[in-house]
C-alpha cells in the first residue's frame, strides 16, 4: 500500500556534511517524522533527530522541510506531490550538533535572562482571584510549546549571528508580553525591559514568526506590536514612528532608525540598528538586491568551524575555567561578522508579492 518517495536529508556534524539521498516507503496518513523513524529502523540507524510526543505538543522535532521551518510530526506527507523530493535540513539559525539536531541552548540562555513572574507580595496562595477575560490574553502566549521555529525564522538572528547577544527573539518577547499582561504580576517594567534588554527595537514586524507558529499564536499582532506601541507611547513621538514605518520599505530602508536609537540611550549596550532589511544588514544596496532576487538553496554555505579541541574532542580547558570567562566564540574563530550577503539564505515569504 506504500509508495516509494525520494528524500534528501542533511547528514553531518559541526565539521560539515551534505545532503544524502534516500528512497523510503511512505504509507497513507504518515507525516515526515514517520518517514525519519522508518529510515532509522532500516538504513540509517544512527540518523540523529529530536522528537518526543509526536503530537505537536512538545515542540522537539523542529526542522526545515523544503526550506521551511516546520514540526516534522505535523507535516503530513500528503501535502507534497508524489514525485516531489522532500528535503530535510536542520534549523539554520542554531549550530548543528549532528544531522537534524541543533544546539538550541541560545534559547535557554535567553529564557534565563528574562525576569521571572513576580508574585504579588500581599496575596496568599489560594487567594489569587482573576477574571477569565483577563487571563486569556496571557494564556494565548502560554500555549507556546517552545519549538523555537519563530526563533529560527526570525531574520534578525537567522543571518546575523552578531545580533544574538542583544536580541532575545519572538519567543521571549511573548514571554515578556505574557508577564506584562498577567493580572497579578508585581513587576511593572516588562515593556521597558523588553525594549532595553531584549532588543525589541530590532524587530520590524515582518511577521515571519507568526507565520511559522504551529500553535497559531499571534506573536506579532498580540504580543510584539502592543508592547512596541506602548513603549512608543511612553517615550517617542508616534508620528515619527508611524512615518518611519510607512517609508521603511524601498525608499529608505537603510535610514530607518530603531526606536532604541531614536529614543537616545535607552540602554548603553544596545547595538546599532540597520538590521531591518530582509537580506541582511550589509548597508550595501546592490548586494541586497542581489540577495533578494532569489535563493539557491543547494548552494554551499560555509559551515562554522569549531574551536580546536584536544584528543578527547573536548576544549582544552577544565570545567572550572571554561564556563564564563574567555570562552571561545561559539560560532567558530574563522567567521567574521557581518557575513557577506551572498552567503545568506533568507528569502522573505512576501518578497515576490507586489509592494504596497
Amino acid at each position: 500500500m506504500g509508495t516509494k518517495r525520494e528524500f534528501r536529508i542533511w547528514r553531518g556534524d559541526e565539521n560539515g556534511g551534505d545532503l544524502q539521498d534516500y528512497t523510503v516507503e511512505v504509507n497513507e496518513g504518515e507525516v515526515v517524522l514517520d518517514v525519519i523513524h522508518r529510515l532509522q529502523a532500516t538504513e540509517a540507524p544512527d540518523l540523529a533527530c529530536r522528537w518526543n510526543c509526536k503530537a505537536g505538543k512538545c515542540g522537539s522535532c523542529s526542522m526545515e522541510i523544503n526550506g521551511k521551518p516546520r514540526l516534522s510530526c505535523m507535516t503530513r506527507m500528503s501535502t507534497f506531490e508524489e514525485a516531489e523530493t522532500v528535503t530535510v535540513t536542520p534549523l539554520r539559525t542554531f549550530p548543528v550538533i549532528r544531522d537534524l539536531v541543533t544546539d538550541v541552548s541560545f534559547n535557554y540562555e535567553k529564557a534565563r535572562e528574562t525576569p521571572a513572574f513576580a508574585p504579588p507580595a500581599d496575596v496568599a496562595p489560594g487567594d489569587y482571584r482573576m477574571q477569565q477575560v483577563d487571563v486569556e490574553r496571557s494564556q494565548e502566549f502560554r500555549k507556546c510549546i517552545e519549538c523555537f521555529l519563530c526563533q529560527t525564522v526570525c531574520h534578525v538572528i537567522r543571518d546575523h549571528e552578531e545580533n544574538k547577544q542583544a536580541f532575545s527573539g519572538p519567543r521571549f518577547f511573548i514571554r515578556a508580553a505574557e508577564l506584562d499582561m498577567h493580572p497579578l504580576d508585581a513587576r511593572t517594567d516588562r515593556k521597558e525591559y523588553a525594549q532595553a534588554e531584549q532588543g525589541l527595537g530590532f524587530c520590524n514586524i515582518t511577521k515571519c514568526c507568526t507565520e511559522v507558529c504551529p500553535e497559531h499564536i499571534k506573536i506579532t499582532d498580540n504580543g510584539i506590536i502592543p508592547m512596541k506601541e506602548r513603549v512608543v507611547d511612553h517615550r517617542y513621538d508616534p508620528l515619527v514612528w508611524l512615518g518611519s514605518k510607512i517609508f521603511r520599505r524601498g525608499q529608505v530602508p537603510q535610514t530607518f532608525v530603531t526606536s532604541a536609537q531614536h529614543g537616545g540611550a535607552v540602554h548603553s549596550s544596545a547595538p546599532h540598528g540597520g538590521v531591518h532589511s530582509h537580506a541582511g544588514g550589509s548597508h550595501d544596496a546592490p548586494h541586497e538586491v542581489e540577495a533578494q532576487r532569489g535563493v539557491n538553496w543547494r548552494r554551499e554555505v560555509p559551515h562554522p568551524t569549531a574551536p580546536a579541541t584536544d584528543a578527547n574532542g573536548k576544549l582544552p580547558l577544565t570545567e572550572l575555567t571554561f564556563d564564563r570567562a574567555a570562552a571561545p566564540s561559539p560560532f567558530g574563530d574563522d567567521i567574521t561578522f557581518p557575513l557577506p550577503p551572498e552567503h545568506l539564505n533568507f528569502a522573505h515569504p512576501s518578497q515576490d508579492e507586489p509592494k504596497h
Binding site: 540507524p45 518526543n52 505537536g56 549532528r98 528574562t114 496562595p125 502560554r142 517552545e146 564564563r324
Partner: protein, 637 residues
C-alpha cells in the same frame, strides 16, 4: 579504561527525570538549600508531562462546595479498586489543593470561574468537578510553570552567587544508565550526554527517581520514546523493589486512524463535555457495560445521562465517564464482537452533540491536533478511538510519607509515575498531575533532609564506574548483534500481543519464554555509528531496562489470578477480595526477577469509616467486613 574521559560533578541531590515530579522535587531540594542537579533525557521542558490534557485533580471545592479531601480520597480508592496504598491516597487528597495554589504563585494561569477562582472540570471517576485545567493543555502549563520557577531560582542564585547554576543545574539530553552504591547507600549516578556521547558521573548521596513510565514496551502507546522504564530498572538494580507491576492503564480513547497518529490520546474531557461512544451500528453502547459496583452512580437511560451535563446534582452521570479501565474493556469487547470501525476502534462523537463553536472553544488543542495531524474536523465528524497503553500504576515501592524506596537501598527516592502504590490497580484521570506535585515535593524535601543527616558522604567505587563504562560502550563495540530497532519491535510485539489489555495464563507463560529469548538477544545487541547523538546506541542501552521491566509485568500478571483495574485476566474474570490484600513485589536476584507477596497496609479506622458498608462489601473479605462492623459499632456507642 584509562583513556575514557568522564566528567565528574558533586551534588547533594540528583533528580533523574525532568517531568512534573522531577522538577517539583528539584525545586523542593533547592529550597531546602541543597545543591541540586536535574537530569533530563530530552531538552528541558519537553517531558511527557506536556501531554497531560485533562487537568490536575484537587479538592479545592471551587465548583461544588461539597467537595473536600475525604470525597477525593474515596474516589481515588474506589478508582484503584481499594488496592491503593491508603496513606498515599490520603496525603494526595489532602495536599493537592495546596500544590495547585502554589503553582499560581509560580505564575501559572489556570482557567477561571466567574468569581475569579480556579475553574474545575468533571472527569471520569471524580464525584465533583475537580480538575484544575487550562483548556486542554494543562500538562504544558504545569511543566512550563515549574520550568519557569526553576529559572527564577537560578536568577536568585545569579543575584546572590554570580552564577545561574550555583545551586541548581539542568543537565539536558542526559541519560543515566547506572546508579552507584557504597554498600547499601546511594553514592552517585553514571550516564552519558546524548549530544556528545561523553560520559558523566554524579557523586551524590541522595537520588530522586522521577523517570515516568514504561509505555515504549508496547506497540500502541501514547508514550514518547523516553518511556523505557529507566527508573524502574535503575531502582531494581540498586536493590529497591517494585510493586503492582501487573497494572497498566490502557487509555480507552487513543486515536486508531490515521496511522501517523495511532496511539495519540483523545482527552477524557471530550466525554466530560458531551462526547459519546458509538459502535459501527451507531449504538451508544456504554449503557451495556456499567458494572454492578458502579450501578448506583451512573445513568441508565440516554435521557438521564444527557440531563446530567447541565444538572449534575439531580441526575446520574453518563456511563461514558466510567473509570478508564471499564471504558477500555467495553471498547475492546465491542471491537471483538465485530462492531468496531475498520481500523479496529469505535467512534467517539462530539460533532453531533455540541455546536462547532463550542467544541472549538472548549477543546481547542484537541480540535487543532486532529485538524493538523489527521485532517479530521472533530466539529464535523466522529473520531476513531481505541485503547492505548498509557500509564503504569506499578513502580518503585516507597514509604508513603517520604518517597524513600523500600528494599535494601538507602538514599533512593521516587515520585510520580515511576513510584507505585498511590493509584492502586487503576489511576483516575487528573490524579497523576496532582500526584507529581504532592509526591515530587515530598521526595525532594526528604531527599534533602536525608542528605543533611549523613555524617559522611558515600564514596563511588572506581570499579563500578569502569563496569558502567564497559556496559555502556558494549553495543558500539559489537557488530555481530541485531539492530536495537528490530529488538524493540519484537519486544513490543510480545508485550502488546501477550501481556496487553486482556491476559490469559498460557499467553503469559508464552510471553515469559519469549522474553527470556529476547534477553539473550538484547545482551548481544549492536549499534552502528559513533557516540555522538546516536539514537540507535541510545535505544540499545534503553532496551535492557525495557526488558527487565517487561519481565516484572509479565510475571506479576501471571501470578495475580483475578481481574482488577488495569489487570484483566480472561481466565479469572472477577475481582477476588483475597487478592485485594496482596501486593506483588518484584526484586532482582542477580539477573532474575523474583516475585514475592506482601500484605497491603491496613487502612486506619477513621479512613475506612468514610465508606458505606454496601460499597466495601464489594471489595473486602468477610473477616475485614466483620472488623469494619465492630469498628462502626464502637463508633456509634
Amino acid at each position: 579504561m584509562t583513556e575514557t574521559r568522564i566528567e565528574r560533578h558533586h551534588y547533594d541531590v540528583v533528580v533523574i527525570g525532568a517531568g512534573g515530579a522531577g522538577l517539583r522535587a528539584a525545586i523542593e531540594a533547592r529550597l531546602a538549600g541543597k545543591k541540586t542537579a536535574i537530569i533530563s533525557k530530552s531538552l528541558f521542558g519537553k517531558a511527557h508531562t506536556v501531554m497531560a490534557e485533562g487537568g490536575a485533580a484537587a479538592a479545592m471545592g471551587n465548583m461544588n462546595s461539597r467537595d473536600n479531601w475525604q470525597v477525593h480520597f474515596r474516589d481515588t480508592m474506589r478508582g484503584g479498586k481499594f488496592l491503593n496504598n491508603f496513606r498515599m491516597a490520603e496525603l494526595h487528597a489532602k495536599e493537592s489543593p495546596h500544590r495547585i495554589w502554589e503553582l499560581e504563585t509560580y505564575g501559572a494561569l489556570f482557567d477561571r470561574t466567574k468569581d475569579g477562582k480556579i475553574s474545575q472540570r468533571n472527569f471520569g471517576g471524580h464525584e465533583y468537578p475537580r480538575l484544575a485545567h487550562v483548556g486542554d493543555r494543562t500538562g504544558l502549563e504545569l511543566i512550563r510553570t515549574l520550568q519557569q520557577k526553576i529559572v527564577s531560582l537560578q536568577q536568585e542564585d545569579k543575584r546572590d552567587h554570580g552564577d545561574y547554576e550555583a545551586r541548581i543545574r539542568v543537565f539536558s539530553e542526559t541519560t543515566i544508565t547506572e546508579l552507584l552504591l557504597d554498600g547499601d547507600r546511594v553514592a552517585g549516578a553514571f550516564g552519558y550526554y546524548r549530544e556528545s556521547g561523553e560520559f558523566i558521573l554524579f557523586e551524590a548521596p541522595a537520588v530522586v527517581l522521577a523517570t515516568g513510565g514504561v509505555g515504549r514496551s508496547y506497540k500502541v502507546t501514547s508514550n514518547s520514546w523516553e518511556y523505557t522504564g529507566d527508573g524502574h530498572a535503575l531502582a531494581l538494580r540498586a536493590g529497591a523493589t517494585l510493586i503492582n507491576m501487573e497494572f497498566l492503564q490502557f487509555h480507552p480513547t487513543g486515536m486508531v486512524w490515521p496511522p501517523s497518529v495511532k496511539g495519540i490520546l483523545v482527552t477524557e474531557s471530550v466525554r466530560g463535555d458531551g462526547g459519546v461512544l458509538k459502535n459501527s451500528d451507531g449504538k451508544r453502547f456504554m449503557f451495556d457495560y456499567v458494572p454492578d459496583v458502579f450501578r448506583k452512580q451512573y445513568a441508565e437511560t440516554e435521557e438521564e445521562a444527557d440531563r446530567w451535563y447541565t444538572d449534575p446534582d439531580n441526575n446520574r452521570r453518563p456511563p461514558e465517564l466510567l473509570p478508564r479501565d471499564e471504558v477500555a474493556r467495553a471498547i475492546n469487547s465491542e471491537v471483538k464482537a465485530g462492531r468496531g470501525t475498520p481500523a479496529g476502534g469505535v467512534y467517539l462523537d462530539i460533532a453531533s452533540r455540541r455546536s462547532a463553536e463550542e467544541i472549538r472553544r472548549r477543546l481547542p488543542s484537541m480540535y487543532h491536533q486532529f485538524k493538523e495531524l489527521a485532517d479530521v474536523d472533530i466539529t464535523k465528524e466522529p473520531m476513531e478511538v481505541g485503547p492505548t497503553c498509557h500509564y503504569v500504576m506499578g513502580g518503585v515501592e516507597v514509604d508513603p510519607d517520604s518517597g524513600a524506596a523500600f528494599g535494601t537501598v538507602r538514599g533512593l527516592f521516587a515520585a510520580g509515575e515511576v513510584s507505585g502504590g498511590m493509584h492502586g490497580s487503576n489511576r483516575l484521570g487528573g490524579n497523576s498531575l496532582s500526584d507529581l506535585l504532592v509526591f515530587g515535593k515530598r521526595a525532594g524535601g526528604h531527599a534533602a533532609s536525608y542528605a543533611d543527616q549523613l555524617t559522611a558522604r558515600p564514596a563511588v567505587a572506581v570499579a563500578a564506574v569502569e563496569a558502567a563504562v564497559e556496559t555502556a560502550l558494549a553495543p558500539l563495540q559489537r557488530d555481530t548483534g541485531e539492530s536495537p530497532y528490530t529488538l524493540q519491535q519484537d519486544l513490543q510485539a510480545v508485550m502488546g500481543d501477550l501481556v496487553g489489555i486482556i491476559r490469559r495464563e498460557n499467553e503469559l507463560v508464552d510471553a515469559l519464554a519469549r522474553l527470556a529469548e529476547l534477553r539473550e538477544r538484547v545482551a548481544k545487541v549492536s549499534a552502528a555509528g559513533g557516540r555522538r547523538y546516536n539514537p540507535g546506541w541510545h535505544l540499545a542501552l534503553d532496551l535492557r531496562n525495557m526488558l527487565v521491566v517487561s519481565e516484572c509485568t509479565a510475571k506479576a500478571a501471571l501470578e495475580r489470578q483475578e481481574s482488577r483495574g488495569g489487570h484483566t485476566r480472561e481466565d479469572h474474570p472477577g475481582m477476588d477480595p483475597k487478592w485485594r490484600q496482596v501486593n506483588l513485589v518484584c526484586s532482582l536476584d542477580g539477573d532474575t526477577v523474583r516475585l514475592t507477596r506482601k500484605p497491603l497496609p491496613k487502612m486506619r479506622g477513621e479512613l475506612i469509616g468514610l465508606f458505606d458498608r454496601g460499597e466495601l462489601a464489594k471489595y473486602l473479605t468477610d473477616e475485614e467486613l466483620a472488623e469494619f462492623d465492630a469498628l462502626a459499632e464502637e463508633a456509634s456507642k
